[in-house]
């Protein structure tokens, strides 16, 4: 199973590189789909069905929105030469993140094992042991999300709420109080002093 996970993670890396490299927007979106679905299968193999369900549904929604916006536009390909300084900076950033990642991974539990295998008094140990008794929820992920870590979920819901409120408010051209013809009224007001 470990080999299968490694193969899928290779798919993730290759898909991400293709998504950056290709100049066709639709190919880039499809490559991102490969990344997302390979990660979904990895989550299933690592026995995290909650994460896998969320990953697959968000991936489907995102892919279709991106495909729609990529296909509908007149621009289908990315034009222009690649800038050398930008590529050098990206390569340097990737190198730095790779080094930091290797350092961080040394501190983590072995791949595929829970973090509480490494730390003896980890809170997750208490969640697994007492979760059903304390919250009554058989799904321990839901028990953590909505009971032990309810503040985080409230914050996450607030983030989504704020984003949507901002988007809808920005896209509303007319205000509720004023009559709809705001622009023409402003133009009339600008030309009015000449008449008076």
């Amino acid at each position: 199973m470990m080999n299968l996970i490694v193969v899928l993670l290779m798919f993730v890396v290759i898909g991400a590189v293709i998504a950056i490299w290709t100049r066709d927007l639709l190919s880039a979106v499809i490559a991102m789909g490969v990344v997302g679905f390979a990660r979904t299968v990895v989550f299933v193999l690592l026995r995290a069905p909650d994460v896998a369900i969320t990953q697959v549904v968000v991936e489907v929604l995102l892919l279709i929105i991106l495909i729609r916006s990529a296909v509908r536009r007149e621009v289908h390909t990315v034009e222009g030469a690649r800038s050398v300084p930008g590529a050098a900076m990206a390569a340097a950033l990737v190198a730095v993140m790779l080094i930091l990642g290797v350092i961080a991974i040394r501190e983590l539990a072995p791949f595929g094992q829970p973090a509480m295998a490494r730390v003896s008094d980890a809170p997750s140990r208490a969640y697994v042991d007492k979760g059903l008794a304390e919250t009554g929820s058989a799904n321990i992920v839901t028990a953590v999300l909505l009971d032990y870590r309810g503040y985080d979920t409230l914050g996450e819901a607030t983030v989504l709420f704020t984003a949507v409120v901002g988007a809808v408010a920005l896209l509303r051209r007319k205000s509720r109080k004023e009559p709809p013809a705001t622009e023409t009224a402003a133009e009339a007001g600008a030309s009015a002093p000449e008449n008076e």
């Binding site: 909650d50 896998a52 549904v57 992920v141 839901t142 949507v164 988007a167 809808v168």
Partner: protein
């Protein structure tokens, strides 16, 4: 004028429409199942809410945005968005008021384990989050896929205001 042509040909072919007609209800049903059994089996409010939004998105892709707006008017979606967010917050505050001064206190008795009606406020919180996520994503979807930026001086009749949808 090209825009008008695509507008009249809203939605996809008859095959897609028929399959959507059969499948859409099951998608909504599956989303509701994921939400309501979120405390018993994998899933939960967020995942279920996204599945519900996928059902509405399928309606829009297959029949066009008018069908989506007929099924879930955008004003209703706005209201549901607020109701879901406030409902979740209200559950937390009720824990503060009823449950003895603890924010997010699970103040409803847990009930029998592994039953649908158990685990106190957790199923209610799942429902609130699902309503909120579904309405939010439908609004985002409409904002991203229907609205267009009108070029200065162009007389093409694009939808540029979310109230016009």
């Amino acid at each position: 004028m090209k825009h008008l042509a695509t507008e009249e040909r809203e939605g996809m072919s008859t095959i897609v429409g028929t399959v959507t007609h059969w499948v859409c209800g099951f998608i909504i049903l599956y989303g509701a199942y994921i939400v309501l059994y979120g405390h018993l089996s994998p899933g939960g409010g967020f995942a279920g809410g996204v599945i519900l939004a996928c059902g509405f998105m399928l309606l829009m892709l297959a029949y066009g945005k008018r069908r989506l707006v007929a099924a879930l008017p955008l004003s209703t979606a706005s209201v549901l968005d607020c109701v879901g967010a406030l409902g979740f917050w209200l559950l937390a505050v009720l824990g503060l008021l009823i449950g003895g001064g603890v924010f997010f206190k699970n103040f409803i008795p847990h009930g029998v384990r592994f039953r649908l009606c158990s685990a106190g406020i957790i199923p209610l919180a799942n429902i609130a989050i699902a309503v909120k996520v579904c309405a939010s994503l439908v609004l985002v979807l409409v904002a991203l896929s229907v609205l267009r930026v009108k070029a200065r001086g162009s007389d093409e009749d694009f939808v540029t205001d979310i109230d016009e949808v």
